[in-house]
């Protein structure tokens, strides 16, 4: 990945291709995005910002829809898991 960038997910570095969304970075790291009300792991469903299943905390801002946000260098992504 010559033009890749590195972000951290729950503190661990993950390298992704430039232009990848945060949801894609989560999938590449094998991470679910959120835990449901009853404790199920959830990942993206709609891929277009409608379903809110892919929400994560990015740089301290909670409830970000990871499918609509492109990774930026040194981004800090956290899940509530």
């Amino acid at each position: 990945m010559p033009d890749g960038i590195t972000i951290t997910i729950n503190g661990a570095p993950v390298r992704v291709p430039a232009g990848a969304t945060v949801a894609v970075a989560m999938a590449m790291a094998g991470q679910a995005c959120r835990v449901s009300v009853k404790g199920e792991s959830r990942g993206p469903l709609c891929g277009m910002g409608i379903c809110f299943e892919c929400r994560v905390t990015i740089n301290g801002v909670s409830h970000c829809r990871s499918c609509q946000i492109v990774c930026e260098p040194a981004m800090d992504v956290r899940t509530d898991a």
Partner: protein
């Protein structure tokens, strides 16, 4: 108030897919001030986004170029959530508040996939068909992955072909419509040669991928994430190992913004007259929100809306014939991909219908209306505001959603507070 952007436009277009782009480009030709807004990081809508120029159909590349070369104000990553007063919309970009003022508005908010609940559908890696395609466009590596594509609608074939082209293995495409209705659909396509050509191209791209009609996902299985899918085919079930299930049941119009602005909606579609004008004087609507009709109809309706919004009514009339043809195709889609009632039998008592609030089928079955379901179970009251479970509930229980309330998307508390500060007369929040 923390306002990132405050802008005023003669014509403001909400939605940057084919309909919105066509409307904005056409309106801007006559020199009026035009703005176009989309909530995604890039324009093109779901259908055109994330493709390099040589990957795109010529028509798409042409429109994208016309947009980028125009003097239109292009705003991405903006999500409209409220109308504090007539002619003003509020949106959020990241956490910041944006105020958009308009003389005329074109609603081109597109459509979303319809999801139906079945056992295991909430497992990670069960995604919409368009949803998985969007993820791959967003960089998800799919080479060598096994993807079952299921549900209904022409999107299934397009997605399967796209995924295969990017190296995925497609063990099955399951279409719930019968061969009979698919044959009728194919037979009526002679009026739409462009669609036939696209169909043949898809057939070529799909090669030997197994396609089954009268077939649908019965259950998804896996521990932490999807491992296999059981499909129903010709009355028998069959388990297929896979990495992803790409599953969508055709599309539903995004009408929340139209409802917020008081535009009439009928049978789930925004009502428009021959000028694409809604029941509100200076608000137009184009593309999927007026009825699911595909990209050609969206472009045609978008051009009409943009021309009329810029007061070029005479030129708009030239597109009426094309629109009639497009609406014929929309009717065909509607008839062909109507959902069979068997699908209403898929959820088990424990199957979740509302994913935001984890509400099971059995809890909803005990209710007699949307209102009761909301009060007793919180179904449809989570962050998606019923965008996912609403169409499912409508199919399962024939409950139609009531009116929408602002904010139509969740917004930051400080931005909601700013609404009150700027519009003290507004008591609807």
């Amino acid at each position: 108030m923390p306002s990132a952007i405050s802008e005023r436009f003669d014509v403001l277009v909400i939605g940057g897919g084919p309909a919105g782009i066509a409307a904005a480009v056409r309106a801007a030709e006559s020199g009026v001030g035009v703005g176009i807004v989309d909530d995604n990081p890039a324009f093109g809508g779901q259908i055109w986004r994330g493709k390099s120029e040589d990957e795109q159909p010529r028509e798409a590349a042409r429109w994208m170029r016309r947009l980028s070369e125009s003097r239109i104000t292009k705003l991405t990553g903006l999500r409209v959530f409220h109308q504090p007063e007539t002619g003003v919309l509020l949106a959020e970009k990241n956490e910041n508040l944006c105020e958009l003022r308009y003389r005329s508005l074109v609603i081109a908010t597109g459509a979303r996939e319809r999801f139906l609940p079945f056992s295991g559908w909430t497992l990670p890696n069960v995604m919409g068909a368009g949803g998985l395609q969007a993820m791959v466009k967003g960089g998800l590596p799919i080479r060598g992955k096994r993807v079952v594509v299921a549900g209904t609608g022409p999107l299934l074939l397009a997605v399967a072909a796209y995924l295969r082209k990017h190296g995925a293995v497609i063990p099955a495409i399951c279409e719930q419509a019968s061969w009979g209705s698919l044959a009728k659909f194919a037979g009526a396509l002679w009026r739409h040669p462009a669609k036939v050509a696209r169909g043949f191209r898809l057939k070529g791209e799909l090669g030997t991928v197994p396609f089954a009609a009268s077939s649908w996902p019965f259950a998804a299985e896996g521990k932490e994430k999807l491992e296999s899918v059981t499909i129903s085919r010709n009355g028998k079930t069959e388990k297929i190992q896979c990495d992803y299930l790409a599953c969508g049941f055709h599309l539903v119009p995004n009408v929340e913004l139209a409802l917020l602005l008081g535009c009439g909606v009928e049978n789930g579609c925004v009502k428009v007259n021959e000028w694409q004008r809604t029941t509100v004087e200076n608000i137009y609507c184009a593309g999927e929100p007026t009825g699911i009709g595909g990209v050609e109809l969206a472009l045609t309706e978008g051009q009409i809306a943009g021309l009329v919004a810029a007061e070029r009514v005479k030129e708009a009339r030239e597109f009426f014939r094309e629109r009639k043809k497009g609406r014929h195709f929309a009717d065909l889609l509607d008839q062909t991909f109507r959902l069979r009632r068997d699908l209403a039998e898929l959820p088990t008592p424990e199957t979740l219908v509302c994913r935001c609030e984890d509400v099971t089928y059995s809890r909803l079955k005990a209710c007699s209306s949307w209102r009761e379901a909301k009060l007793h179970t919180r179904c449809g009251m989570g962050p998606c505001q019923g965008r996912v479970c609403g169409p499912a509930v409508e199919f399962l229980f024939q409950w139609t959603p009531e009116s929408v309330r602002p904010p139509i998307f969740p917004a930051r508390v400080e931005n909601l507070a700013a609404v009150r500060a700027t519009a003290p007369q507004n008591r609807s929040l």
